[in-house]
């Protein structure tokens, strides 16, 4: 039974009408869907049903859900997470993106468990949620402002330093299909195009300020358990390293293991990795730590370029993905240029992973002669050409020339130049993130079966496969992927970060206890995992109803046919038939049919 943890409120905003409404959430709904992506998937499913599964992701009818979880903001390690959920303009399918910082916590302090936004404002507007009040305010003067600039203007206008602000940049306004939402000066809901959705709704920003107590059923029990968990993390041998380098330590690791994308995944090691790794950042660029709410690991860094042509650039970041995709993947070996590209993406409001992936693909396409010089509007571009790359990024955000095609994502590029299908790494229309899957078939399966497309967040099995999985049987591979796909989305439902668990080995049992203390609901970890698994079925159902089947659970051409040139995985590809066997076994273990369709009875689970 739910005794705490929720306000049981859903704020529903209709931008067309300019109306806001606080709706009640039932106990049954809360117990079943928990929060975060669980709430989101259910609301998106209901909305799709209302529209007979005909949905233009950039149409008024698309419902954008923002949902923290019951643990968001609670005193326990890394509870600052929050999910964005909608039908994605990048894939046309289920999409979500989880974001750190403090935006979700603030939303909870305003007494809201889930916020959903539909319709389209008549002019560029800002949604301002101030504790119990919610208003839609027209602010057409913000048109064209960068994400960060808009955040500054809004803070000044509303005279607030303590509010949390989520903004979009020009890329979002121009509905670039991989535009992101920026909060807290540089934390992004990066993937699957939420910036474009906000742009399509004429919503430039969401501002939240709240000051309520978060309902916690047993605060003393929670504090005692949290102290234990914080102590465990503090004593971990890699804790200091995480505080200092954060995710930037992964560059060295990925290079050593041969999973670091280089030159649009032509290679999986980067010869000049030392120029863009964590040690270089620490020596010359880092000026401060940055943490999400209640996180002792502070994996984020603040970097400053102190000299040269990018002097004065200040960035929250980079983390591994941004650094790999805007660094080695496009051949940039100058860390200052990586920071400049990262900052530019933040300013324009564009996902660094998708951007780095597509820029790399364009460079390779031009190198191979698929694109001509006139396709590039007369300005040639090569690996590591930072001026050209930054200019291309600007062209995408502003939909200028070639940028207009790239802005519509991989499918549009492939439509224009069919041979690019062999160059771009994408699944279901989402560009692959920065772990090479040719080194391990479990990671390949993870990308193919991720509900949002080729992203590592659902199952990041590559490290375990590199460490201990060389002798894994097929069954162990499939089981590991499925276990990750249960546990990792559970973190997104609870509203907490997965890094303390995956990186520092914080036992997942802690979360069972945290959940119990916060909600008073006596549920085991196994039951929570089962609920998370139900949501995986639900997102699959959404995708199936939007046209997905086995044919879409595929992999990029390069994964099967074009091995990395050098490094420990030189010559390796994923065997096509082996992959199909893994996929069949995966479906079987999930109880889906040979074509990847869940059985007819599953749908009835999500009636209410």
């Amino acid at each position: 039974m739910i005794k705490g943890g929720y306000f049981k409120k859903h704020l529903y905003v209709d931008l067309t009408k300019g109306s806001t409404e606080r709706r009640d959430l039932s106990d049954a709904f809360i117990e079943k869907y928990i929060g975060g992506r669980g709430f989101g998937a259910k609301l998106v499913w209901d909305n799709l049903k209302r529209h007979n599964f005909k949905m233009n992701p950039l149409g008024q009818e698309n419902l954008m859900v923002i949902a923290p979880g019951p643990l968001s903001g609670a005193y326990l390690p890394s509870s600052g997470k929050n999910s964005f959920i909608a039908v994605s303009p990048a894939t046309g399918l289920y999409g979500d993106s989880s974001i750190g910082g403090g935006f979700g916590v603030e939303l909870r302090q305003a007494g809201i468990d889930v916020l959903s936004i539909t319709g389209k404002a008549p002019e560029l507007s800002v949604l301002f949620i101030d504790n119990s009040e919610a208003t839609v305010m027209p602010m057409p003067e913000l048109k064209g402002k960068s994400s960060l600039e808009a955040e500054g203007i809004i803070r000044e206008r509303l005279d607030t330093q303590t509010a949390h602000v989520a903004t979009i940049g020009p890329a979002g306004e121009n509905m670039v299909r991989f535009a992101c939402v920026n909060t807290d000066w540089g934390r992004n809901a990066g993937r699957t195009g939420f910036g474009a959705i906000m742009g399509s709704k004429n919503l430039k920003a969401i501002v939240v300020r709240g000051h309520r107590d978060l309902p916690v059923y047993d605060i003393n029990g929670l504090a005692a358990e949290a102290d234990k968990a914080y102590r465990y993390l503090k004593e971990h041998k890699y804790f200091k390293m995480w505080q200092q380098q954060g995710l930037m330590n992964v560059i060295e690791y990925a290079n050593e293991k041969g999973i670091l994308p280089s030159y649009n995944f032509k290679d999986s090691v980067f010869t000049r990795h030392e120029q863009i790794n964590g040690a270089t950042m620490l020596a010359d660029y880092k000026i401060g730590d940055s943490a999400c709410f209640s996180c002792s690991m502070c994996c984020s860094n603040i970097c400053l370029v102190k000299n040269g042509k990018y002097a004065g650039t200040v960035v929250e970041g980079p983390e591994y993905e941004s650094c790999a995709m805007l660094g080695s993947n496009v051949g940039i070996d100058n860390f200052a240029a990586v920071l400049a590209a990262n900052h530019l993406c933040d300013e324009l409001g564009m996902d660094t992973i998708s951007t780095g992936n597509l820029v790399g693909a364009i460079i390779e396409g031009y190198e191979k002669g698929i694109l001509s010089l006139s396709d590039l509007d007369g300005r040639d571009i090569t690996w590591g050409d930072d001026d050209g790359i930054l200019e291309l990024i600007r062209m995408i955000a502003n939909r200028r020339g070639l940028g207009d095609i790239i802005a519509d994502g991989p499918r549009r590029i492939i439509k224009q130049w069919p041979e690019m299908d062999k160059v771009i790494l994408q699944v279901k229309g989402l560009e692959q993130s920065a772990y090479d899957s040719r080194a391990g078939s479990s990671m390949a399966l993870a990308y193919a079966t991720s509900d949002i497309g080729a992203h590592h967040t659902r199952a990041w099995t590559i490290a375990r496969e590199m460490e201990e999985g060389q002798s894994w049987s097929d069954e162990e591979k499939v089981d590991t992927v499925i276990y990750h796909q249960k546990l990792r989305p559970l973190f997104d439902m609870l509203g907490v970060c997965r890094l303390p668990w995956i990186e520092l080995g914080l036992n997942e049992r802690h979360y069972e206890y945290f959940y119990k203390c916060v909600t008073g609901n006596e549920v085991s970890l196994e039951q929570l995992l089962a609920l998370s698994n139900d949501i995986y079925d639900l997102t699959r159902l959404i995708n199936v109803r939007l046209g997905v089947s086995r044919k879409d659970d595929s992999l990029p051409y390069k994964v099967f046919a074009s091995p990395p040139l050098t490094g420990p995985n030189a010559g390796k590809v994923v065997d096509k038939e082996h992959f199909q066997r893994l996929l069949s076994m995966y479906y079987q273990k999930r109880g889906w049919d040979e074509d990847g369709i869940p059985p007819a009875g599953v749908e009835s689970k999500f009636k209410d």
Partner: protein, 177 residues
């Protein structure tokens, strides 16, 4: 020995654990907006995360404006007398650092009481940005920083018994001689 709670903002990550543990300890609630310490973030010039907490001033500006003498400096802590406080919040406005807080649920201003000498925020800060140090040692870390960042500091590398070492020294401005 009187100890002071000091802040080293360069080491703060902005995680707000201090806010959480303060509110839990004093109010028993999970609400960072009820803490007597808050972190202010600024960006981009300067990029700073600055915890704001009472300095326990010896000549407290808050006490000076208090119409009922409810604030008094006693053995290193500016103590709020809950009996005499009338919640006029003049202290909140008067503090030059903004280090006294108000919340609509609370009857009194929220002010750091040093947790009876062992501040919870200091104990739980994961980065050592909050420290409790003897009064006579106040400012020491800053002095060292100042020395190290002295603009005319030069560094040379040299070898001692085959081992590479570096030494820093201050260059005397020749033009002034």
């Amino acid at each position: 020995m009187s100890k002071k709670l000091t802040v080293i903002p360069e080491q703060c990550s902005g995680c707000r654990i201090c806010e959480l543990v303060c509110a839990i300890k004093h109010f028993g609630v999970n609400n960072p907006k009820k803490a007597a310490i808050r972190i202010i973030n600024t960006y981009p010039h300067p990029v700073m995360r600055m915890p704001i907490v009472c300095s326990q001033c010896k000549v407290p500006a808050c006490a000076k404006v208090c119409p009922t003498d409810a604030l008094r400096w006693v053995e290193g802590i500016v103590i709020l007398d809950k009996e005499n406080c009338i919640s006029c919040y003049q202290c909140v406005e008067a503090c030059p650092f903004g280090a006294i807080y108000a919340h609509e649920d609370c009857d009194l201003p929220i002010k750091c009481d040093m947790c009876g000498g062992e501040p919870e925020c200091v104990a739980k800060c994961p980065l050592g940005a909050l420290r409790l140090i003897p009064e006579h040692a106040l400012g020491e870390p800053k002095r060292l920083n100042n020395v190290l960042s002295y603009t005319q500091m030069r560094e040379i590398e040299f070898y001692e018994k085959g081992e590479k070492k570096a030494i820093r020294y201050a260059e005397i401005g020749k033009e002034e001689l």
